[in-house]
């Protein structure tokens, strides 16, 4: 049990304190015997939906970005940022900001489901992160994976919504997710290569990266 006074959170010894819960450790750390029992597996295996044939009427990129962020936060994201992705070919609309060129060295070939289909690469990445009390990489239990579950909920609905607006959007896991998060201004990469955010330190899980061609305004990276 915790006592919350605005931004201040005090732990409060109570009957439902996790220290007194004999099953809590197993909830966080015991990997499931059957992965079909986990929602994360169901959402990961779900096929991507179609793009709505009519493009929705959208606002200026700044306003659309604020709407994407507002919806992501409503869906449960604690941190949201937008990164501009490097284009493999120099395009006439080259943005010329240093983020994109520095990202090009990190990500030589941006993955994405649009690739190989003769489609334009995705210009933007929406990066959502959720607070993770336990690191999902070292806590394989259903409880340890709750941040992943929350992240999948956000990216599934948000990317489906962008497709319903009539734009391409692909939510996929990314090995460089934390670096992209840093580019999107969520935090910095520390010496171990982990994302450190001002709000939650490294207790944060970066959800699937949504790559999209919805016209957005990228955030500046925290430098």
């Amino acid at each position: 049990m915790t006592l919350r006074l605005g931004p201040l959170t005090l732990s409060w010894p109570g009957r439902d304190s996790r220290k007194n819960d004999p099953y809590w450790d197993s909830f966080i750390n015991t990997p499931p015997a059957d992965l079909a029992n986990t929602v994360t597996e169901m959402i990961r295996n779900a096929p991507e939906g179609n793009i709505f044939p009519t493009k929705a009427d959208i606002h200026t990129p700044e306003i659309t970005s604020s709407h994407v962020k507002e919806l992501a936060k409503y869906l449960g994201a604690n941190l949201v940022g937008i990164a501009s992705l490097p284009s493999p070919l120099p395009s006439p609309k080259e943005r010329g900001d240093s983020d994109a060129s520095s990202l090009a060295s990190i990500l030589p070939s941006p993955p994405g489901r649009g690739e190989g289909e003769g489609l334009e690469p995705y210009p933007f990445a929406v990066v959502c992160a959720v607070r993770a009390e336990y690191d999902p990489r070292t806590s394989p239990g259903i409880g340890g994976q709750v941040p992943v579950q929350n992240g999948l909920f956000i990216t599934f609905v948000l990317s489906a919504w962008i497709r319903e607006l009539g734009f391409r959007a692909a939510a996929a896991p990314d090995l460089n997710a934390e670096k992209l998060a840093a580019v999107a201004g969520l935090g910095k990469i520390d010496a171990d290569g982990r994302l450190v955010t001002p709000q939650y330190g490294n207790q944060v899980h970066v959800a699937n990266i949504i790559r999209t061609d919805l016209p957005l305004e990228p955030d500046s990276s925290a430098t």
């Binding site: 009957r15 439902d16 996790r18 007194n20 819960d21 004999p22 099953y23 809590w24 197993s26 909830f27 015991t30 499931p32 015997a33 059957d34 992965l35 079909a36 029992n37 986990t38 929602v39 169901m42 959402i43 779900a46 096929p47 991507e48 939906g49 179609n50 709505f52 929705a56 009427d57 959208i58 606002h59 200026t60 700044e62 306003i63 709407h67 507002e70 919806l71 409503y74 869906l75 449960g76 259903i142 409880g143 709750v146 579950q149 929350n150 909920f153 599934f156 609905v157 489906a160 919504w161 497709r163 319903e164 607006l165």
Partner: protein, 446 residues
């Protein structure tokens, strides 16, 4: 949405239908469900396939409702990804992804439970950790269960217990876990609008994910978790999630009527059941009638409780409530008027907790006076019906439904076919249709 069930036993014709007890000797006596609902006669278990949505899916409610339900794609992108029908592509709707899959096996290595109370605390902590707003446990009773074939979301959910009778199921699985989410209060103020729809549908999706994850976790603990078996409202009232109001909704101490009642979990995991609560809903509903006054279809009774299927409760007319939908689906999906105007539906803040605790600790004979005072305050400060203007994403409840205008401040984009509205000021929302407008198309029972 309240689903009031349609199947009527021959005995229940609105009057007292108490008959000699014909229960089998091993069926436990009717449980106490709090002051708002009373089991007074034999309860016939209702087949879920006779409830509104399945009836409509089979076309039994007529063409307009069938076409609205099955053949209508919403104009609103967020509704297309969050509402249980009206999607353009089912793959974009998370609930159908999550509910399709229930092939997970029960872990053969069963977690021993020495102290059911500790396990109950654990399950509640787990549900809250996953994001549930309300969690409670009820002692199962055969009268809470559906009859007939299981209500399955995907048509493939088969299990060994499909043909078990309610009494058998309750003997094997004595506990019901109710875990649910609440709707966003601020967005709900723009009910009868896509903003209110999203408050309802997004939290509903979240609730579906939480319950599915909880179901999987119980299977991982080595116990059975059955879905589609228990009537949510019976479980909600029995577990003390809330009391049943005049509007047919379970009204919660913290969130009022703005909570979902999703499909609960029937399980054999050893737990300690919670008890029904008395938060004063019974006393409030006798006097208030705010939901009945504002219901656009007059589906909520002004009168006293009736006995329906052996249960004494306020009985709404689900058919007139349901019939409104095809007429308004261009503008919004979920009416939610009865939930929004309910005086218990307030933000979760200190004055709200104080008022509800004052009402629930007040001696019952003194409650009507307190209720009248609170009702007066509610009418005075929150109005008889909500007409707040809410802006969220591109939505603006100050725009008349059907009109096209961009009211986003600072937007300079050129919009096809819709102008930038000059109506940026003002705080009045526009909620259609008004009650008098629905008189012409909603046929009411006498």
């Amino acid at each position: 949405m309240a689903l009031t069930l349609d199947k009527r036993p021959e005995a229940a014709n609105g009057n007292s239908s108490t008959k000699p007890d014909q229960r089998a000797p091993d069926i436990p006596p009717p449980p106490y469900l709090g002051r708002s609902v009373r089991i007074v006669g034999p309860v016939v278990n209702v087949d879920m396939n006779q409830s509104p949505h399945p009836k409509n899916q089979r076309g039994e409610l007529g063409k307009p409702l069938f076409n609205w339900y099955r053949n209508t794609v919403s104009k609103d992108p967020l509704t297309r990804v969050s509402a249980p029908n009206h999607f353009a592509d089912r793959k974009q709707f998370l609930t159908s992804v999550v509910n399709r899959d229930n092939k997970g096996k029960i872990n053969p290595k069963r977690m021993p439970v020495a102290d059911p109370a500790a396990m109950t605390r654990h399950i509640k902590a787990v549900a809250r950790y996953m994001g549930a707003d309300v969690v409670a446990v009820a002692q199962a009773h055969p009268s809470f269960l559906y009859a007939g074939s299981r209500y399955v979301q995907d048509g493939t959910a088969e299990d060994a217990y499909q043909t078990s009778s309610p009494a058998d199921l309750v003997r094997k699985f004595p506990y019901v876990i109710v875990a649910t989410t609440a709707w966003d209060y601020d967005k709900l103020q723009a009910h009868r609008h896509h903003i209110g729809d999203s408050a309802y549908h997004v939290s509903q999706m979240k609730g579906v994910v939480i319950l599915k994850a909880l179901e999987g976790y119980i299977k991982e603990l080595g116990y059975t978790a059955l879905r589609g078996v228990v009537t949510p409202q019976a479980a909600g009232v029995a577990s003390g999630v809330g009391e049943l109001g005049r509007n047919g909704l379970v009204i919660n101490k913290t969130f009022g009527a703005r909570i979902h009642m999703p499909d609960p979990i029937l399980t054999d995991l050893p737990l300690a059941a919670d008890q029904p609560v008395d938060i004063g809903v019974e006393d409030f509903c006798k006097i208030c009638r705010k939901c009945a006054n504002t219901c656009p279809t007059n589906s909520i009774p002004f009168g006293d409780k009736v006995v329906h299927n052996g249960i004494e409760k306020y009985k709404i007319n689900w058919l007139t409530c349901y019939k409104l939908r095809p007429y308004v689906s261009d503008h919004w999906g979920s009416c939610l008027t009865c939930a929004t105007v309910c005086p218990f539906t307030k933000p979760n803040v200190w004055w709200r907790s104080l008022t509800v605790s004052a009402l629930s600790t007040c001696p019952i004979p003194a409650r009507p006076a307190l209720v009248r005072a609170l009702k007066w305050i509610d009418d005075r400060f929150w109005g008889v019906a909500r007409n707040n203007r809410v802006r969220w994403l591109s939505y603006d409840s100050g725009i008349k439904p059907g009109e096209q205008a961009c009211t986003v401040a600072g937007c300079t984009a050129s919009h096809d076919g819709k102008a930038h509205s000059a109506q940026m000021v003002g705080d009045a929302g526009y909620y259609a249709p008004l009650k008098e407008n629905t008189n012409r198309f909603v046929k009411r029972d006498a």
